[in-house]
């Protein structure tokens, strides 16, 4: 990457920063509307994902990174999914036949 290219990047960094700042305000603003919990979670997570995507893609240069790094992360995300969802599924399956206390 030469200096001219880097200069172009700097503009991108500033843009991304503004986007992140705006999105932060947006999440906080939405939280004051008091959506019902499930949709609030959905919205907040969607915004957080976008923000995380921006950080990863531009600050961490993932967008232009080599494939080896992408593969490591894809593998990692698969296991991330396992650890996120399988325990939940397993625990939800345990239904007390009768409530413990009335």
């Amino acid at each position: 990457m030469d200096a001219a290219e880097v200069k172009a990047h700097v503009r991108v960094y500033v843009l991304v920063f503004s986007a992140l700042a705006v999105l932060t305000i947006v999440t906080v603003a939405i939280s004051y509307i008091h959506l019902p919990t499930p949709s609030a979670i959905a919205v907040a997570m969607a915004v957080a994902l976008v923000k995380a995507g921006l950080v990863a893609a531009f600050f961490m240069h993932l967008a232009s990174e080599r494939h080896i790094i992408h593969w490591v992360l894809i593998l990692c995300l698969a296991f991330f999914a396992f650890v996120m969802f399988l325990p939940l599924g397993t625990n939800l399956g345990i239904e007390p036949l009768w409530p413990l206390s009335r």
Binding site: L75, F82, G93
Partner: protein, 584 residues
């Protein structure tokens, strides 16, 4: 295009005299670190075994004073020489922890991985030598913390190596030391794993393509990924449990606990099963960490001593990778009896059955590799051959455990103990012995004595089976594990004879190790040097001087063929080294 600019200049430096500390204690050379790991791990292994021999006394002769040792132990551990239940539980938990995290993993990965991998791929060292040193140091610190915990008030951790909450949350302070030690051990493994992956991906010699890697290197690569991505779950769990124990949170404590008749002060709201999920998310991949390097060693030894290529090398590699991937989604087969619903238990039964397939393929390939060979029987080969049926028994007994219905009966019985000891003791430990006998001439320049080795092998083979085969029957008879005194139950009373056989075999196994220990130290002092390539092997570690100089290869090797080119038709000798040896 390859940059070889950095290779040559290091050789001359290596003659600088390093002082003792930098050479043996704070070394960054992968070979020294490998040997440090190896010795430390063997000592821990023996220590873990010694703990178990005391337990075996209590099991065979409950309530009777332990001979000799009983008199030496303090009042917190024994009563008039007879073991106390609290001591039994500490020994059990520490035996498991020491064997798994301070014995086999450092031996299989830290020692063999460190020593052999860079040599086999033709690298000058690990990718991050100083990081390598740090992993060893973190391992030692963690190990020492674990051992010192026996001195904590109330003794060492006593909630099993699985440390199930809430029991571990309310246990004595030894558990806190266990957690802290564990964090160091985890940290050590993480650093090591990063190092291995980068080394294998980046530092392969010219021409060493992925499908020219010896199977051992592949097994280390997959193992490193397991360590890297599975261990953090236990780290998270350890942090939570430390908070529970030190900061009074209740991540693993549900509401309304009544301990010893007193309502617990904990706020509650936690989940005991959360610990189990996080623990087994690590611990199932961990068991493959225990076996894969062993399989790698066995594959090397078998190829060399049958004088022919491994059969189905590629399918073995694919199986290995698949096995590694699948090992992340079978963990709840340790939790069938926590009351999970039918859907999830079906899911985990199916994944468990699926994961056994790649193991079967790898084992079948190794067995079929014997066909058409010209089989020599040096000591490493004996251990490698014994590995096959022993791992076979261990693996096969995993199948009934993996099906929820038989597991309802077998869970937490001695059958489980038998199952996993067959894989880790006559399985992995035999593979480790094979590796020690096999690479000893490389590390020291001396060969180990063959007759003593054969004695060691046959005695170990008999007594290993003598210990663990009776356990299968005990489990079938309904005896639970972790019982200070199984005779309390009528099932345990009925199977008592088996317990005695098992215990005597364990003590005899200990005696059988004497020829090995003697051989190990005495061979080092031998005058006579071993040949440079005593097994007539093809892989790169045998293509450098013994012991390898700092920087390993006098000039960078260039790899021309696959790892197991034995008995190639038309070749000059019955082995064609991966790289033509360059001038020394």
């Amino acid at each position: 295009m390859r940059n070889t600019r950095h290779w040559g200049l290091t050789m001359s430096d290596s003659h600088d005299e390093l002082n003792f500390w930098r050479k043996y204690v704070f070394s960054t050379d992968h070979k020294t670190i490998g040997i440090q790991y190896g010795i430390t791990a063997l000592v821990f292994l023996f220590f873990g075994f010694s703990l178990m021999m005391m337990m075996r006394w209590q099991l065979a002769y409950p309530g009777q004073a332990i001979p000799i040792i009983g008199a030496l132990l303090g009042d917190t551990f024994v009563n008039r020489g007879a073991m106390l239940p609290e001591f039994y539980n500490q020994l059990g938990a520490m035996h498991g922890t020491i064997m798994v995290f301070m014995g086999i993993v450092p031996l299989a990965v830290g020692a063999f991985g460190n020593f052999v991998v860079p040599l086999q791929i033709g690298a000058a060292d690990m990718a991050f030598p100083r990081l390598n040193m740090m992993s060893y140091q973190a391992f030692v610190i963690g190990g020492v913390i674990m051992l010192l915990s026996f001195l904590a008030p109330g003794g060492a951790a006593s909630s099993g190596w699985t440390s199930y909450a809430p029991l571990s949350d309310i246990a004595t302070s030894g558990q806190t030391w266990w957690l802290i030690g564990m964090i160091f051990l985890i940290f050590s493994s993480l650093l090591g794993a990063i190092n291995f992956i980068v080394t294998i991906i980046h530092l392969r010699a010219e021409g060493m393509t992925f499908f020219r890697l010896p199977f051992f290197v592949w097994s280390q690569l997959v193992t490193a990924f397991l360590l890297l991505l599975a261990f953090p779950a236990l780290q998270a769990a350890a942090v939570f449990q430390l908070m529970d124990r030190l900061a009074g949170t209740s991540f693993f404590l549900p509401s309304g606990l009544v301990v010893g008749g007193e309502a617990s002060a904990a706020v509650g709201g936690g989940s005991p099963l959360l610990w189990q999920h996080l623990f087994w998310f690590l611990a199932h991949p961990e068991v493959y960490v225990l076996i894969l390097p062993g399989m790698g060693i066995v594959a090397e030894v078998i190829a060399i001593n049958t004088r022919k290529p491994l059969w189905g090398y590629r399918s073995m590699v694919y199986s290995l990778v698949f096995l590694g991937f699948m090992s992340f989604c079978v963990w709840a087969h340790h939790m069938f009896l926590t009351g999970m619903g039918t859907t999830m238990s079906t899911f985990f039964q199916i994944t468990t059955m699926i994961i056994s397939i790649p193991s079967v393929i790898i084992l079948s390939c190794l067995v079929i590799s014997l066909w058409g060979g010209s089989i020599r029987f040096p000591v490493p080969m004996l251990f490698a051959l014994a590995f096959l049926p022993m791992f076979g028994i261990g693996g096969l007994t995993g199948l009934p455990l993996g099906l929820a219905v038989p597991d309802v009966y077998l869970h937490d019985s001695y059958y489980v103990i038998g199952h996993f000891h067959y894989v880790v003791a006559p399985g992995t430990i035999f593979a480790m012995f094979a590796g020690i006998y096999h690479w000893y001439p490389k590390a020291t320049g001396r060969a180990m004595n063959e007759s003593l080795g054969k004695l060691h092998f046959w005695l170990s083979f008999i007594f290993m089976n003598g210990i663990f085969m009776p356990m299968m029957f005990e489990g079938m008879a309904g005896v639970s594990r972790r019982l200070f005194n199984p005779e309390v139950y009528n099932t345990g009373l009925g199977a008592h004879g088996l317990t005695v056989i098992s215990s005597w075999s364990a003590w005899c196994l200990a005696l059988s190790q004497l020829p090995f220990i003697y051989n190990f130290f005495a061979s080092m002092r031998k005058k006579e040097r071993a040949e440079e390539n005593p097994w007539q092997a093809t892989t790169l570690e045998w293509a450098t001087p013994t012991p390898p100089p700092h920087g390993n290869f006098p000039s960078p090797p260039v790899v021309e063929r696959g790892p197991y080119e034995y008995s190639v038709p038309g070749a000059a000798s019955d082995f064609s080294p991966q790289a033509v040896k360059q001038g020394v």
